[in-house]
Symmetry: C2
């Protein structure tokens, strides 16, 4: 059984930076360090941090907070302002690309554009972006019909969205509005990972997508593969792998979301190798 790993699989720049910040804080062994929500969307990494004494919280007013680490997805403006007034230290691990998208959402709103955010309305990054985008802002996931729009529309995009959705949205908006200003805030590494994964899915018999079930970009990779279609399995850890998934498979592809650590990808690879060996194909 041949096993391929997508080059762009695993930690992106923003996640790596957030993890480095969080673990560096953990090394200080200070009391009262929290992350606002899970610092990244990977339960195993969050668990490792918890073991080192850093837990996630959703309560910025929690009594014993000494340091609050802002998650990589960013947080809404009012929470950031509330936390700033609380007197404890704030360590901002927001991905710089998300910070940039927040900045652009504010800029568009300040310039009088009606802001559309293309993304998943329940995702923390999008909830954060919304808080910068003004009262008439809309979240569009790309599937629904557009409501009536103002004549000047500005668009920012959740950093992990595929570019095709942005193109479709722009096409719909320009039929309804006279002026449109778009900041393409899709992160390059996301675009690259989607492209590599799609190509790989076309070459293999089984795709294994590794990453948090709560990770939007990992779920997106899994959906992309399943739609190809190719036999696709989305797992968080190697323990979830089942030998029967690989029956008759000559080639297996592994990809992983931006929040999936290398050590989990390696474990998955080794376990699939073992399954191949057990099935006697000599890999």
């Amino acid at each position: 059984m041949e096993i391929l790993i997508a080059k762009g699989a695993g930690f992106c720049f923003g996640v790596k930076r957030a993890i480095d910040i969080a673990f560096a804080m953990a090394d200080k062994k200070q009391e009262g360090i929290y992350t606002f929500g899970p610092v990244i969307h990977n339960p195993q990494v969050v668990e490792k941090l918890r073991e080192k004494g850093i837990a996630p919280t959703d309560d910025i007013c929690k009594d014993d907070i000494k340091v609050l680490i802002i998650r990589t997805h960013g947080i809404p403006l009012d929470l950031m302002e509330g936390a700033s007034k609380s007197g404890y230290e704030i360590v901002d691990a927001t991905c710089p690309f998300v910070t940039k998208a927040q900045h652009y959402a504010k800029l568009l709103n300040d310039d009088g554009y009606q802001v559309i955010i293309l993304g998943d309305r329940d995702h923390p990054e999008v909830r954060g972006l919304m808080s910068y985008a003004g009262d008439d802002a809309l979240v569009i996931d790309g599937k629904e019909e557009l409501p009536e729009l103002k004549s000047r529309v500005g668009i920012v995009v959740q950093t992990t969205q595929p570019v095709d959705g942005l193109k479709r949205l722009m096409g719909k908006v320009i039929e309804r509005s006279r002026e449109i200003k778009v900041y393409n805030t899709i992160c390059n590494s996301t675009a690259l990972r989607l492209k590599e994964t799609e190509e790989m899915a076309g070459e293999v018999d089984v795709m294994v997508v590794v990453g948090g079930k709560n990770s939007a970009n990992t779920t997106q990779l899994a959906n992309l593969c399943a739609a190809r279609p190719v036999r696709t399995h989305h797992i968080e850890t190697a323990e979830e792998l089942r030998p029967e998934w690989f029956d008759g498979a000559g080639k297996v592809g592994i990809t992983a979301g931006a929040s999936t650590p290398d050590w989990i990808i390696d474990e998955v690879k080794e376990r699939i190798k073992d399954i191949g060996g057990e099935q006697g194909d000599g890999t």
Copy 2:
């Protein structure tokens, strides 16, 4: 034989305004009135003006100019400035929607965007727009590959382009640039005329498209019909109609460009009626 006429066929607002301006000037019976180029892209109208003593010229320095009427498609900035310095009277019959597009091209350039003009590079409107769009501006007709672009791109559109081409261009640009600002300068009446013509082409056996062979928007209507596909004939006047075009036709559609006068459309309709009668279908 049933004959349908597209509702949006014939003079648009900008053309009607330019014609009214030009014929009002003709009524003054003053010497030395010229239009810069043909005031609209309809040879029959231009001929009628010539009979009234108003001829087109491409030479802004012509000795005997007393009044220069600027064509509905607008003219390049340097020519406008040159004409302004010549001491004769300038009457601006530029379509207000074209003037707006010129303004937006300048605005985008002033704001530091690389300007792309979607349109036909040889069309006078586009040559005019280019003069406002800065040194790094590009004309794109939608068919060619895009060259490398700057990170901030602004788009304006020749007023008679179809919106689908704009959507395709936006999709290509957003893959290459981080910021894109689009002024949808496509004129509403153009969009409506294209839509009505396309629907009509789907219902009839023969389409007759009436208007100047040098009219971009008329040629576009003809191409749209031919691609549908439906038997399509682009004519300037009723004299060009051939009875054999209508052999076996139950339904005939007539559409016309923005620069086609009603009297020509009426003549075409009457001539097709006659052909139907000659063919003995009792229309």
